[in-house]
């Protein structure tokens, strides 16, 4: 019985190991966004393909939509792009592109080369709307509900798993 007390340091060690293990499994690049559950920030930006036309947040109200932040200079976007193109063909949700800190010509060329999954892309030339959306690592993807509230944010490229396991169920729920 007396030896039980020697288990105490062992116990403390196990707790510490648990914490270390938990720390290792976190991705420091994924900063929890304070914008989830908040209204999407207001914006009004020119369309990438027709700069004389503008799209604002309130134009998109009343539907569930996705905002995908992309740029022609963004390597991870290229990796994500085929998945988006394929997903857009299923037309489950309108995908709007936020062309972030990009040249118009470069953006247009990218869409011509790799396919255009977007209902429309809007041009955030100086990155201000990006800041409002808390963007810090392109690509990022937001799911926004009918009332214009941000319901989900993906930092980094979408994957088939995220689409299937997280976004699809969320879209079903939001559209029901």
């Amino acid at each position: 019985m007396k030896h039980v007390r020697y288990l105490v340091p062992m116990g403390i060690l196990l707790v510490l190991l648990y914490f270390l293990r938990a720390g290792l499994s976190l991705n420091p690049k994924e900063v929890p966004s304070p914008l989830i559950g908040k209204p999407a920030p207001a914006f009004s930006l020119p369309r990438l393909d027709q700069p004389e036309q503008r799209i604002s947040r309130d134009d998109l109200r009343g539907q569930v939509w996705m905002l995908n932040v992309w740029a022609s200079w963004c390597v991870a976007c290229r990796q994500e792009h085929p998945l988006l193109v394929q997903y857009a063909k299923q037309s489950k949700v309108p995908i709007y592109g936020l062309n972030y800190k990009d040249e118009r010509a470069a953006g247009m060329k990218w869409l011509a080369d790799f396919g255009n999954p977007y209902t429309a892309s809007i041009s955030d030339r100086d990155g201000r709307v990006g800041i409002d959306f808390g963007v810090y690592g392109v690509p990022e993807t937001f799911v926004i509900d009918r009332e214009g509230v941000i319901r989900y944010k993906q930092i980094g490229p979408l994957t088939p798993e995220v689409l299937r396991d997280t976004i699809e169920p969320l879209l079903k729920q939001l559209n029901s």
Partner: protein, 153 residues
């Protein structure tokens, strides 16, 4: 809880990830030294989210440049430091603050090390006191004198 790990862990990871990027202070972008000083002061409180171990004052990442511009514009529009900080935390969360605020979620982060020191010293104190009160025969006797070995003498 996640966020606590997050903050601790990022430090380490970013030292490794960003060690190649030595920062040179960016050149002032306006000719008002007082304004630039205030921009720099606020910038040193804000984390660059691209290279997380740097403040936006140190970082040359595009986003850091943009955020400094944002800080400068807000100050030029007459907003104060607290309004700038609130603006940043509303978009990027507490994580953007180089010194995380003290609240329930971050309490362990702030007081954890102090608690550990206190608990350690307390344990040491109790153990030593208990030992000093024990009677002599509670301890293992010291080694007896070696028996006289006739061959050695």
């Amino acid at each position: 809880m996640r966020q606590v790990f997050h903050l601790l862990w990022c430090k380490l990871v970013c030292v490794l990830a960003c060690s190649g990027a030595f920062a040179v202070e960016a050149l002032p972008a306006s000719d008002n030294p007082a304004l630039e000083a205030q921009v720099m002061k606020i910038s040193t409180e804000l984390r660059c989210l691209v290279c997380q171990n740097q403040t936006i004052a140190d970082s040359h990442a595009d986003l850091a440049v943009d955020l400094r511009r944002q800080v400068r514009e807000m100050l030029q529009n007459g907003q104060n430091e607290q309004q700038v900080i609130d603006y940043m935390t509303a978009r990027y969360g507490d994580f953007v603050l180089y010194r995380p605020p003290f609240k329930a979620l971050t309490a362990l982060l702030w007081i954890g090390p102090a608690v550990m020191v206190v608990v350690g010293l307390g344990t040491l104190f109790v153990v030593l006191r208990r030992r000093s009160r024990l009677a002599d025969d509670a301890f293992e006797p010291d080694d007896k004198d070696p028996p006289n070995d006739p061959h050695l003498s």
